[in-house]
């Protein structure tokens, strides 16, 4: 009985802020499902993509972590099925999720840009959920500051960086949501990507923690700039008149 109770306690133990991410995922998928028809997709297709992605994220993240630390898990194999979320590689989980989702899209012969557009509400709500989750846990905390709206966190007055990021993610969601499905396929996703990359370049400067390059530049800002570059190229290409219209004019 104690073992069962122990397992239940472990399942419901902190970090409870992860529940915010789960709630955001549920809400985002609900909104994406509602709009799926506008992009010529069945909501069931989106559910399957999200389900395959989530399953691959969990399995890929854990198995990737086990492979990276294979020597340790050979000594203590029970850890492979441990409920502790710390035994996880988010990067490899994300890669597995992308691969599984892409495989589903390819196998079902769906148009990738339409799928990305349809999934944009899910991604945008997840970004809001991540901000709220960081606010709840105190992670991704801001630099010390004496601005009037600073918050007391981890022993200092700090920029409420989590609030900045939540607000920016909400504005991004609104911008992507306002994009009409009549726009060229891929536009909603490109707008979401450009806004998200843009505010990350700006707002990451207010975070206290992060990864720095030797000259003091933040690695996450550089990655966001590269993402912004790709998103703007995508938007530029999408803004071009389709070839068939040009041909018809001539």
């Amino acid at each position: 009985m104690d073992e069962v109770l122990g397992a239940l306690q472990a399942l419901l133990a902190p970090p409870r802020h992860m529940l915010l991410i789960l709630a955001a995922g549920w809400l985002g998928l609900h909104l994406a499902d509602r709009r799926a028809g506008q992009y010529g997709l069945a909501s069931q297709e989106l559910d399957n993509i999200a389900g395959a992605g989530m399953l691959a994220f969990i399995l890929g993240g854990r198995m990737g972590y086990v492979l990276i630390h294979a020597a340790v898990f050979i000594q203590a194999p029970a850890g492979i099925v441990s409920l502790n979320p710390g035994l996880f590689s988010p990067l490899l989980g994300g890669a597995a999720a992308l691969a599984a989702s892409a495989a589903y899209v390819w196998q079902r012969r769906l148009a990738l840009t339409r799928v990305l557009d349809a999934l944009t509400p899910l991604l945008a709500i997840l970004a809001i959920g991540a901000g709220l989750s960081n606010l709840a846990s105190g992670a991704a905390f801001g630099k010390p500051s004496d601005v009037p709206w600073s918050i007391t966190l981890w022993g200092a007055q700090r920029h409420p960086s989590q609030s900045y990021e939540t607000l920016a993610a909400t504005l991004t969601m609104l911008a992507a949501w306002r994009t009409s499905a009549a726009e060229r396929s891929g536009t909603a996703f490109a707008i979401f990507a450009a806004w998200t990359a843009g505010w990350n370049i700006f707002l990451r400067a207010f975070r206290a923690e992060g990864t720095w390059l030797p000259n003091g530049t933040r690695l996450d800002q550089v990655a966001a700039w590269l993402a912004l570059f790709v998103a703007l190229v995508m938007l530029d290409l999408l803004s071009e008149e389709p070839a068939e219209i040009k041909t018809a004019r001539h």
């Binding site: 630390h69 000594q75 502790n84 710390g86 992670a139 003091g216 933040r218 800002q221 803004s239």
Partner: protein, 180 residues
């Protein structure tokens, strides 16, 4: 918008972004974070001094140069009990490499008379500290038992595991990281 105007605007956005990255670069950023003290990953572990079961006084800051696993626990907490053998095993295995395991009993929410029998029953040889005034629980913002802080040789917190029991694999990987 004409293609030329659009590309000019996009180019401008990219240049402004690049300029902001340069302007907001902070060569001292990492050091500034590492010097702050709080029970949070990346920050310095708050100092404390506590008495152990055998009457010794241990101050965290006096363990300089050693990696520390700080585990907060109570005798009535099943996950705490479940992870104790793995902590004890790690303490014995890695002590020679410079690891210290401090098992801090959250005495304000425990029965102090139960601590010694608990340690004897599990054959614990690692230092058992008594947080009789609840100062460590308060300073480390204890939210759930067990809670474990992995502190590297410089005194910075590298990982916080809230809840348990921790698997042996998790413990070994985190200890490997703080031993460097």
């Amino acid at each position: 918008m004409q293609p030329t105007e659009r590309r000019t605007l996009f180019g401008l956005i990219l240049v402004v972004g690049l300029a902001w990255i340069g302007l907001s670069a902070d060569p001292a950023g990492h050091a500034a974070v590492a010097n702050a003290t709080a029970p949070q990953v990346g920050l310095r572990a708050p100092d404390f001094v506590l008495s152990s079961l055998d009457g010794n006084r241990i101050r965290l800051s006096e363990l300089g140069g050693k990696a520390v696993v700080l585990n907060l626990w109570a005798t009535w907490c099943p996950p705490c009990r479940a992870e104790m053998p793995a902590l004890e095993k790690a303490y014995r295995e890695f002590a020679a490499d410079g690891l210290v395991v401090l098992a801090v009993n959250a005495t304000t929410q425990d029965d102090i008379a139960a601590v010694q029998p608990f340690a004897e029953e599990l054959g614990l040889t690692m230092p058992i500290l008594l947080d009789a005034q609840g100062l460590v629980s308060k300073t480390y913002q204890l939210r759930s038992l067990p809670s474990t802080f992995f502190i590297d040789r410089t005194g910075a917190i590298r990982e916080v595991v809230i809840g348990g029991p921790m698997s042996e694999a998790l413990l070994r990987i985190r200890i490997g990281a703080i031993l460097g």
